[in-house]
Amino acid sequence: MDAVTHAPSTEVLRAIVDAASDGVVLCDADGAIVLVNAAAREMVPGDVASLLDLRREPGETYETAAGDRLLRVRREIFGIVHQAWYLRDVTAEAARADALRAERERARFLVEAGRRLSASLNTRRCARAATELAAGPLADAAMVVLPPQGMRRTAWLRTSAAGLEEGEIPVTAADQVPGLAEALAGFPPVPSRWLDPQQAPDWLLPAGFGPVGHLLVTPLPGNGVPAGALVLARREGGPSYDEDTETLVRVFAARAGAAISAAVLYQEQSATNAILAGDLLPPALPVIEGLELAGSLRAAQQTALIGGDFYDVLPTPDGPLVTLGDVCGKGPRAAVLAGQVRHSLRALLLLERDPEQLMRLLNRALLSSPTPGSHVTLVLAAVKGGAIDIAVAGHPAPLLLRADGVVEEVDARGSLLGAIKSGVLTLRIATIDLDSGDLLLLYSDGITEAFGGPTGREMYGATRLKTALATCAGLPATAVVERLEQLNSDWLAGGVFDDRALLAIRRSR
């Protein structure tokens, strides 16, 4: 049987085109519409001609809006008499892509927010990060009002096109913004709320911000402590907050709140620590006529810089009493005992100024201490004019650098304080002359017992310290201490170290 081919009739062709799910619009060479299929009529109930862009190249695709639909249109040319436009409704596809993009942006925003908010434990830095993150994606102006913490005034930070601004408001001013006072107090719990822009007091927005379209106050939920409030403002005409953005604001506020409240807790605790540790830090050395004093203290525990080594210079009517000591142990526990020894000495000094007697009194005080292991090594140097009485208890003897560069070890020794319950404290007191240009160096065993050197396993030792000291003749006391500490640190070459203390007394020329 022959295969017979019949060309389809115009009616059949029209029916085929009409049944296509893509819209088809056929025009003649002048652009007059000769055919619009059913799909095209459905997509564009009105005037379809306005969508047909004659400037497009054949084969080119473009997107155009028709009512609330988004259409993808392709122009084709057939011969010289016909041109066709194919229309596809891509509204849903585009919406999905938009949603995906928005979702990705939200995820990216939250990742960045997490990174920045988790970095610092400083309240101001956290609040600043929160406003900088929110300004742009969430608002034209973003403000964090920090919790007042029992003060009359409270701080705020704000980021907008005007940059970062900071200030304070009286806590009572929070009443001017509905929901803000509750958010700052953390009670009663209030949801975030929209404000009538007219209700905004001047201080809430940057100068010259213009008319406000949307204003949102969101409490920052903290970890059991109020973390303040987030205020977001968009200008009139800006996009309104849709449901997704509101959800994003809530998630963001939760993160910012957690970060700020952690910072608030840290700040409170570190402020308390700083007050407690303040007394344990090395004291500023007094200025004494005719003497140069310089000290250096390096604690093995590096966060708070406190440890078992200590020094002090206590004025007495006879002249200063210089002390340097080392209590058994490390870190805060040792620092507390060191602080007690310094206080005891200060009190004992009101009754007794003789170094030997002071040592005996301190020994008895330590032996009666309820804390076990309250052992202390100590040097006391009572400066009286040109002479210095030196008592040493369980501590390396001080070194004397003469003006000509000769180094001598002070011939004084005695037993550790607070250690031996039976028997008496044996002490050998020395008296030295400190002439013009001479320097007396008190140091702790952390210096001589520093492990390091070329092999990393060698002890620095008293001999190296003496050799180094001999090269310091003629230097001011501060330079001597700095140089010795530097040489010692170089010896350690970054290795672990014990608490280290140096104190130099030099008679000025």
């Binding site: 610092s120 070329p454 092999t455 230097l475 501060t478 330079a479 700095e482």
Partner: protein, 336 residues
């Protein structure tokens, strides 16, 4: 005589009061405090460094001069005390860095320009700096590093500061004359001088939050740096044992001379470690060149440096990158 020469002369003669009187006099005469710091004290201190390097001044004299300049800076700071009008900046020397004066000058310049400055001083332990940053929340931290050997520790400090969200401004000769090490370590900004650093901060050219650094030190994956630092002791002990055989005069050295040689060798090792860490040949060859000049100024033959480098080269079988650096260093020493 210029003010710089006059000041330098007073430093040289350890005339502390004279030096302070001079700067306070200039201040009284109308010289701005910033120029006093940067155009008198800073250049004089540079001269002090050069005089020491040339062997004209002893270490002790140099230390004494620096101590006096510290006092002079303190005297200016107590005389001129502008009220802070700008936000807070922390200024600190990196861990292990004792050359505090250049960093101190930056702190004073910033203070003069109205910043609220916390100057933490020399040799600031990393953990302490971080605690301080959490407690005070500054807008930036300026880290000074005078010697390239402190770079690995400076890097640790720098990344720790960035991890707590504070941008880092790097400064000091340790970061390279052109700041290339600051860039490599991911600092948020770098400035060659105190006034350039102050300008950078004044103009708000630091980001408010550190920009995350890329993988800039991927060469560290070969672990040469880690292994070298770990085995530094035994490697140097090996070289010290070999030295007297290759350099007979050493057999008669006193303990102090032996210690001194060990010190010099330690410096070479420290610069080698820094060059391995940052992966920069010029860091090492510049150091070798500088050491040879230094030794020559003191009448010591530069030959000894080349010998030490060769011995180190022989000792480091499994360290291709270090051997390359040492080979280049030996060339530099031979040419010096």
């Amino acid at each position: 005589m210029t003010a710089v020469d006059d000041y330098l002369e007073r430093l040289g003669s350890a005339d502390e009061f004279g030096a302070i009187d001079l700067v306070l006099g200039l201040l009284d005469g109308g010289m701005p405090a910033e120029s006093l710091l940067l155009d008198v004290i800073a250049p004089a201190q540079r001269r002090v460094g050069e005089l020491w390097a040339a062997g004209s001044w002893s270490v002790a004299r140099e230390h004494g001069a620096t101590a006096i300049s510290e006092r002079a800076v303190a005297a200016i700071a107590t005389t001129v005390r502008p009220r802070p009008t700008r936000s807070r900046i922390t200024v600190a020397c990196t861990d292990g860095e004792y050359h505090a004066l250049p960093t101190r000058l930056l702190a004073e310049v910033l203070r003069l320009r109205g910043w609220h400055v916390d100057f933490l001083g020399a040799n600031v332990p990393g953990p302490h700096l971080i605690t301080h940053l959490h407690q005070t929340g500054p807008d930036a931290v300026a880290i000074g590093c005078a010697l390239a050997t402190r770079l690995p520790r400076a890097h640790a400090t720098l990344t720790a500061c960035q991890a707590v969200g504070i941008p880092v401004l790097a400064g000091g000769a340790g970061f390279g004359a052109d700041g290339r090490f600051a860039v490599k370590l991911g600092a948020d900004g770098w400035a060659p001088t105190a006034d350039a650093a102050a300008d950078l901060l004044d103009e708000g050219r630091l980001p408010s939050f550190p920009t995350p650094a890329g993988e800039t030190l991927s060469h560290l994956a070969d672990e040469e740096y880690t292994l070298f630092v770990k085995r530094r002791g035994e490697i140097l002990a090996g070289v010290m044992a070999e030295l007297p055989r290759r350099y007979p005069p050493m057999t008669d050295y006193t303990q102090a001379q032996v210690d001194h040689t060990a010190d010099d060798l330690g410096h070479i090792a420290d610069f080698l470690a820094a060059a391995l860490y940052i992966d920069d040949t010029r860091l090492f060859t510049d150091f070798v060149q500088w050491t040879c000049d230094l030794l020559r100024a003191r009448g010591v033959p530069a030959r000894s440096v080349a010998l030490a480098l060769r011995l180190l080269h022989d000792e480091l079988h499994d360290f291709p990158r270090a051997r390359h650096l040492l080979a280049r260093g030996t060339l530099a020493a031979d040419g010096a």
